[in-house]
Amino acid sequence: MSLAPELDIFSLGRRALGSARALSDGRAFFTSARRLQADGLWSGPSEASCSLVAEEVVALLGGTEVARTAGANTVVFGLEGASAAAAVSGLRMLVRVPFAAGEAPDERSRRLAKLARVLTQSPGIDGVVPVPVGEAQGLDTLAFFAACRQVCGKAHLVVDLETFGHKLGQLCLSFGADEIVGPIVRQRALRLGERASSNEITRDEAALLLRASGFLPCERLPDGKVLPL
């Protein structure tokens, strides 16, 4: 697979970064997140302000109220299920959009067009989460984030640090993303034993990722408010 030869990553990046900065007035957000799994257990830091649950897990658990009772405050919909998102109240709603390195440009364009329709039809959706299918490639990921930014409107473009890692994740902030979510903790445990490959980062490190990308870092709190740092 390769980037399309006509792709101008810099034009895409300039436009996407400009849109992101205009949207948030130069601010970008970090959100400590944990995830509700199908077995009803949480993975991720217990101190997380964002308690994510995928729509498929909501269905397995028996519905939104069960997930909410378990502590979820954010639902992540697939593109197909996102039209139902308007029915969910009291929870932050995100929509994930898949992409695959090497996929046909037409296929990607159709998916982005669908994302645009979903966001128009479901104005309650607050953020878009790109998700790679298979291995994420560096340049292709940045190009996809930049393309997403152009159809996101007022929705945040969210980088999942568990998926992309903090290196590629940070670079997405120069290509249209304005929020990072992941295992962000107050103080990191030593990377020893079963934590040897831990991908946790601290709040200070998260703020640095945003600041070094030219944004004013803000922390998203459990009640949805944001705290500038």
């Binding site: 390769s2 399309a4 560096g138 940045l142 290196k167 590629l168 670079l171 640095l208 990722l209």
Partner: protein
């Protein structure tokens, strides 16, 4: 100096000043910086992106320098984790690659400053590796090691280089430059050769026809001014000798060393250094994204931030992995080709001196 004015100088091929360098480091848009660096990269190399087949051998990690930035060294030969390869052990590593049908074109040989080894050990090491694979290129011993040999064996730098050259040395790696500033070196690596001495070793090597690389390890205690001064010092030597082949920006890795309280440079800062280096070091032909240090995705992305080289297939890298790098230990040639293609670039297998090679698996992939 405005970014536009700097860009005009770059497009006119004029060398940039200290003030230009500082303004690039402070420019708010990483993407604008990348686009300008990419202009230079494509002017020099188009989309061509180089890699080679190499083998890393660290003869010893016993080191008297005890630099605060290092996770690799041990002070005493009998310390836990200390090692010194015999000449036979080192040759066996090369022969294992040859037997596997994965012949490297280059051996990259760097190690600690071991004060208990005779100079003959290093001469024998080079001669034995060359004998095992006569066509192979030996890129061996950083300027820090060369200067250490000079002091330990009480032989002039030029004579040290001549003897190593006679034994098989072909080129010097670029390591040990860290930051060419007395203030920083005093703080992080006070027992290494000075900045002037590092420069003088490379100047001497170039005079003897030994090509070399140059590096900058950034992200410890240095200021932006010191980074700019470092780059311009390398540019000045290159203007004088023309002996540098590639510049390699190396972000500091904080794990398992005495500077572990420092945060590692972020990916954005790493890529900013690539872009600024490509713009300031206009007379060094190649800019290398050493994937072992950067991580694969950042290295791949660097190919649009000025870099035109991904280094090599490596194997058995120890120095960065002990400092927390989580990259693989090696990448097969076809994987290098795939990574480069996936970045929208054209893979070109090279030898140490950047002569194009077309052979083996890479040829099939290209």
């Amino acid at each position: 100096m405005s970014f536009l004015a700097v860009a005009q100088k770059v497009r006119a091929g004029a060398p940039l000043s200290v003030e230009d360098g500082l303004s690039l480091y402070r420019h708010p848009s990483l993407v604008e910086l990348a686009a300008l660096a990419n202009e230079v990269r494509e002017r020099l190399h188009g989309s061509r992106t180089y890699f080679n087949r190499n083998l890393h051998i660290n003869p010893t990690n016993v080191c008297v320098a005890q630099c605060k930035l290092c996770s690799f060294s041990r002070r005493a030969p009998d310390a836990d984790g200390a090692f010194t390869l015999s000449v036979d052990d080192a040759v066996a590593r090369l022969q294992a690659r040859l037997r596997a049908g994965d012949a490297p074109t280059e051996v990259h040989l760097v190690g600690g400053l071991h004060d208990g080894l005779p100079f003959s050990y290093f001469l024998q090491l080079l001669a034995a590796l060359k004998a095992a694979a006569p066509g192979i290129s030996l890129k061996a011993f950083s300027a820090v090691e060369i200067f250490f040999f000079h002091r330990l064996y009480r032989v002039g730098v030029e004579e040290i280089l001549r003897r190593l050259q006679s034994a098989g040395l072909d080129s010097l790696p670029g390591g040990g430059a860290e930051i060419l500033s007395g203030r920083v070196r005093d703080a992080i690596c006070p027992n290494k050769c000075s900045a002037d001495e590092w420069i003088e070793v490379h100047r001497t090597a170039h005079r003897l026809g030994i090509k070399s690389n140059c590096t900058m390890m950034f992200g410890t205690l240095e200021t932006v001014d010191e980074r700019v001064a470092h780059l311009l010092r390398l540019r000045d030597l290159q203007a004088e000798t023309g002996g540098f082949m590639a510049f390699i920006p190396l972000p500091f890795h904080p794990e398992n060393n005495a500077l572990g309280d420092l945060a590692a440079p972020t990916a954005a800062e790493v890529l900013r250094n690539f872009a600024v280096a490509r713009l300031l070091l206009d007379n060094v032909p190649h800019l290398k994204a050493y994937w072992v240090s950067l991580g694969l995705e950042t290295a791949q992305t660097a190919l649009w931030f000025g870099a035109d080289d991904l280094d090599g297939t490596v194997s058995e890298e120890k120095i960065y992995h002990l400092a927390g790098s989580r990259t693989p230990q090696s990448l097969p040639p076809l994987e290098m080709v795939r990574l480069i293609r996936a970045a929208g670039r054209i893979p070109v297998e090279r030898d140490t001196l950047y002569r194009e090679l077309v052979s083996g698996g890479a040829k099939e992939a290209m």
